[in-house]
């Protein structure tokens, strides 16, 4: 039934790689920004809060276009990265990962921030009196206690990245083998006569991946809960 062509497999593999890299790279930023939003107060915090959530409310095409003009080879950030580090985003799978990471970021931040806000700060005080410096307090107390939120954020970001379409196609186009993810491949197949069967197969794959991600997240969250509270 699932008689996928090599091109289809490439799209599946690309989608997974892009979503994984996007999520992994977004995570350190997600934890940092989540912490800043949960724990600090400064002038301009509302602005940062808004900025972080912008990709969630803007049309994805707008986000993609903004990425194109800033991270493109001639864009200010893109040109800088290319000249100094040789990093290229435009029309590469890395650019797709960037677009997916940006789109998934707001979804990652929210549960992390909520989990950090819910932590009993008095436990962190206790850790400090026991000799833990602020970084070790964060690593040994704060982060483990926020783990369920971090897992939820990771899964939401991954799911969003897996399904991202608008920003990716605007920023890095739809190049088979480089930037053509499952979503883009389905879109392409629906534009050509006789592509329905192939599109259908990819749709099934997309559903299977989404379900697998959901189940994995449930399983991880339950394991984290058991670790915390005993069985």
């Amino acid at each position: 039934m699932l008689d996928l062509s090599p091109a289809d497999w490439t799209a599946v593999e690309l989608s997974l790689r892009i979503a994984l890299v996007a999520t992994a790279c977004a995570l350190p930023f997600g934890i940092t920004v989540g912490w800043v939003l949960a724990r600090t107060n400064f002038w301009g915090k509302t602005l940062l809060d808004g900025l972080v959530f912008l990709p969630l409310v803007m049309p994805p095409v707008v986000t993609g276009y903004l990425l194109l003009i800033s991270f493109g080879r001639k864009g200010p950030i893109g040109a800088f990265l290319y000249e100094h580090f040789g990093i290229v985003f435009s029309f590469r799978w890395t650019g797709a990962a960037l677009a997916c990471g940006v789109m998934g970021f707001p979804l990652m931040i929210r549960p992390i921030r909520l989990a950090l806000e819910a932590i009993d700060r008095r436990l962190e005080d206790a850790a400090a009196t026991l000799g833990a410096n602020p970084i070790r307090v964060f690593v040994t107390v704060t982060l483990p206690l926020a783990l369920p939120g971090v897992i939820a954020g990771v899964m939401l970001c991954f799911a969003r990245a897996l399904g991202e379409f608008g920003a990716t196609i605007t920023f890095v186009s739809n190049i088979p083998g480089e930037t053509q993810t499952i979503s883009a491949a389905i879109y392409t197949l629906t534009q050509v006569p006789g592509g329905d069967a192939a599109a259908g197969r990819l749709v099934l794959i997309a559903i299977a991946l989404a379900l697998a991600a959901l189940i994995a997240s449930e399983w991880l969250a339950r394991r984290a809960a058991i670790r915390f509270h005993g069985e």
Partner: protein, 230 residues
Amino acid sequence: MSVLAVDVAKQLGALDLRVRFEAASGATALFGPSGAGKTSAVNMIAGLLTPDRGSIALDDEVLFDAAAGVNMPPHRRRIGYVFQEGRLFPHLSVRQNLDYGRRMSGLPRDPAQFEQIAALLDIGPLLDRRPRLLSGGERQRIAVGRALLMQPRLLLLDEPLASLDAGHKREILPYLVRLRDDAKIPIVYVSHTPQEVRRIATRVVRLDAGRVVASGGVELLKDADADLFA
């Protein structure tokens, strides 16, 4: 012999806290009604609350001095703190909780000391459990053990029995008395219960509305009883 010298002031909402006392070996009780500023005072000693003015010194080391701009962060003070609610880490086992202070303070593993404190507090059978599954009395014993195992220079106990029922209070009190006699470090014991203070304290500092109103021996408690239970 360790000596703690506290002379601090802080405005806490409506409470104008000005506390000055010393604590040497044995157990010094900070005794007084709720809201007198007892917990704030020990939080300042631990470094969790910053005084507006004054100084705190332990032996020859200045922990805090507003005038000189010294404020040692809590993790460098090496002061054991047993909180009213225990504050055990829910994500760690009892053994990991006990070991936490030693690990974070960079002290070498000392199985002999671990055994000794586990025996003193009778916590051997609980080591592999999670804090959530413990009774209130067990939790407080582990909180005491955790504070001792970091080899503190001073031990702060903030109403360690307040959240326990009468049975558990009776269960813990003998451990605390033993601790006072065995540990060679000064203990500051916060309480508003005269019976408790009488069992444990060797010196009493009475606080009321943010001021030290009396300090001396346990005989201070006689009047206090009358005041509190009038």
